[in-house]
């Protein structure tokens, strides 16, 4: 089993709204970020919380988001630990569109200050 994403990968969190436990906070849903590093595998919390013993082991990634992506303003970054199934490839086509749109902050991700 190889990791789907490596450090520096551009990802987008799923825009889900599950009727159960999840470790993807609402403020980081549907947001674009950059993978800092894989952290190791853990039982998918969404399933493990249901107590049936059938939760899959999934890679967890530290993913960094610029404040402007999360809040529309701000000059800090927020890093969250996210299960692989919370993440999708950030489509380059979408990214070009976003970069062209005024007021977006794509240029801030992954730069020299992007992440340790």
């Amino acid at each position: 089993m190889s990791d789907r994403f490596s450090a520096g990968a551009r990802v987008r969190t799923v825009h889900h709204d599950p009727p159960h436990h999840t470790r993807l906070p609402r403020y980081a849903r549907g947001k674009r970020g950059t993978v800092v590093e894989p952290e190791g595998r853990a039982l998918l919390a969404d399933r493990n919380a249901q107590g049936r013993g059938d939760a899959p082991l999934e890679q967890v990634y530290a993913v960094s988001f610029p404040a402007r992506e999360l809040w529309g303003e701000g000059d800090h970054d927020v890093v969250l630990d996210l299960f692989e199934s919370y993440l999708e490839d950030d489509d380059p086509g979408d990214r070009a569109e976003a970069a062209a749109a005024p007021g977006t902050s794509r240029a801030q991700t992954g730069g020299k200050d992007g992440k340790p």
């Binding site: 709204d17 009727p19 159960h20 436990h21 906070p25 609402r26 403020y27 980081a28 039982l43 919390a45 493990n48 919380a49 249901q50 107590g51 939760a55 999360l70 809040w71």
Partner: protein
């Protein structure tokens, strides 16, 4: 929709009380709740994700009104009742 525990970015909680309160427990029952929860997870009666899920499932007004270990005790009772280890009302004697 999200659950009441998911407070990142939520407005209105006011300034932070930065007092350096380092007492681990403020009453003996809090210590017992802490130890019970550790033992129940270690004994695989439930897992940590189920425990978090049970806390998050509190009614929002109750969650906000409850102290930290009151939330824990609520979650322990919820899970033990759900799993048939104790019955509802059994603690109310």
């Amino acid at each position: 929709m999200a659950r009441i525990n998911d407070v990142g970015g939520l407005q209105g909680f006011g300034p932070i009380d930065t007092a350096d309160d380092t007492e681990p427990f403020h009453a003996d029952w809090e210590a017992r709740v802490f130890a019970l929860n550790s033992a129940l997870i270690a004994g695989k009666v439930y897992n940590l994700d189920e425990f978090r899920d049970a806390i998050e499932s509190m009614a929002p007004a109750d969650y906000l009104a409850a102290s930290y270990y009151e939330r824990w005790f609520f979650a322990i009772r919820t899970l033990l009742e759900r799993k048939g280890v104790i019955e509802a009302g059994e603690l109310d004697v």
